[in-house]
């Protein structure tokens, strides 16, 4: 599933002649304020960069649900298991198909259920900064 998310961060260099190579080509961000999607927890999914559109200041990402679910390990009486230090024990199991669909729906609703401006507000992230001359 692909989603389009507004960008935050600071662009330090822009080389349009390199855009043709895809990915994040042609764009160099500030390592201390990298170019990235606004900080919103999409839940138990992973994502990968597909493309960056500087005109709309958005990033298209490919979202994939997690294959696993980590949950508290309970005994037969429903009580939480703990280790020797008293920390709760967890177990990881494969996510079911229904759960995976739920992960994707959650991420989709988080992004597509809001306008671009709302996503900036929710994340409290500033808009993308392009301080260099020549960066459109």
């Amino acid at each position: 599933m692909r989603l389009t998310i507004p960008l935050t961060g600071t662009i330090l260099e822009y080389h349009p002649e390199l855009l043709q190579y895809g990915g994040s080509s042609g764009i160099s961000g500030d390592p201390n304020d990298p170019v990235r999607p606004v900080t919103i927890d999409l839940g138990n999914v992973s994502w990968k960069l597909v493309s960056i559109d500087l005109e709309t200041e958005t990033m298209e990402i490919e979202v994939t649900p997690s294959d696993n679910v980590s949950e508290l390990d309970l005994d037969t009486e429903g009580k939480q298991k703990v280790d020797t230090e008293g920390k709760p024990l967890y177990k990881t199991r494969p996510a079911t198909g229904v759960e995976k669909l739920g992960f994707l729906d959650n991420a989709k609703n988080l992004i597509e259920g809001h306008t671009k401006d709302e996503l900036y507000q929710i994340s409290k992230c500033p808009k993308l900064k392009k301080p260099l001359k020549g960066v459109q």
């Binding site: 935050t8 961060g9 600071t10 330090l12 260099e13 080389h15 390199l18 190579y21 895809g22 990915g23 994040s24 080509s25 042609g26 764009i27 160099s28 961000g29 500030d30 390592p31 201390n32 304020d33 990298p34 170019v35 990235r36 999607p37 900080t39 927890d41 999409l42 839940g43 138990n44 999914v45 992973s46 994502w47 990968k48 960069l49 960056i52 990033m59 990402i61 994939t64 649900p65 997690s66 294959d67 696993n68 980590s70 280790d83 920390k87 024990l89 967890y90 177990k91 990881t92 900036y120 409290k124 992230c125 500033p126 808009k127 900064k129």
Partner: protein
Amino acid sequence: MSPVAISGVDKQGVYVNGVQVKQALDPANETVNKGVYDPTTLSAVDGDLAVGNIEQGVTIFGKLGTVVPMDVSDANAAVGDVKDPKTFYSVAAPRKTGTMPTVAITAANDDYPAGYHAGNVGGLDAIDADLAPGNIKDGVTIFGKLGTYAQTITHDVQDSDVDSAATTLSRQLDYEVTSYIAAGADGVFLTLTINCAQATVLEAAYFVNACGDGAGANNLKLQMYIDGVAQGESANLTASGVFHLFYDTGYGSVASGNRIVYLNCHSYEASDNSRAFISGGLFAAACRLV
């Protein structure tokens, strides 16, 4: 011959030396002693017995008052509304003393106490000098101060490597632990710096056996950046003690110069008490000429 008081003889109309002894009213008090008085009027005895001194509608010894009382029935102050120790009168006596405390905002905390504030013409930033645009996140406004502080990645770098000559750079990850990561912050596992002699496609990849730890172990995610641009983010790290394989790849063409790739853990947890473990893996970057 004037009447003469004789010790042991009262004034109850007795005659002394042939003269009747009489009483007189005293304006200093309201006592009317038993005895004989000359005729008079009360207003002649006490000039304050006048219509101008008596409330309208009230008659005292035939004097109908003309003073109109001030209507204060719409007053509504209570002692808690008046600053301590100022006094005031309200509809009912007696005089009252305000109990509203004088309070102030301090830089020590964000309390906003109820009470009277003297204010500060210098504004809130005169109370706490840290209330300044440079201390507030860029784009966020707090009490009218528009922040200019740029959000940064916390370079809690556990390790780093740089090779200005190599076109590939990789580091094996054995047992790596981030420091406890603050809520919403980042901890960098490893930074690789490659010197690109000319325009190149910079590729990077990692695969690690990782898990979270602490109160927000399930709200940690791995992120990879190439030349300051996010390439992707993992799903939630598995919880403490349950290591799981995470991996990602990314690429971008870059101009010549030193270019940085790094592997980072971001905390989406609300508390500060989380960190990430890597028990083994590899992080590599390579240049490919374009």
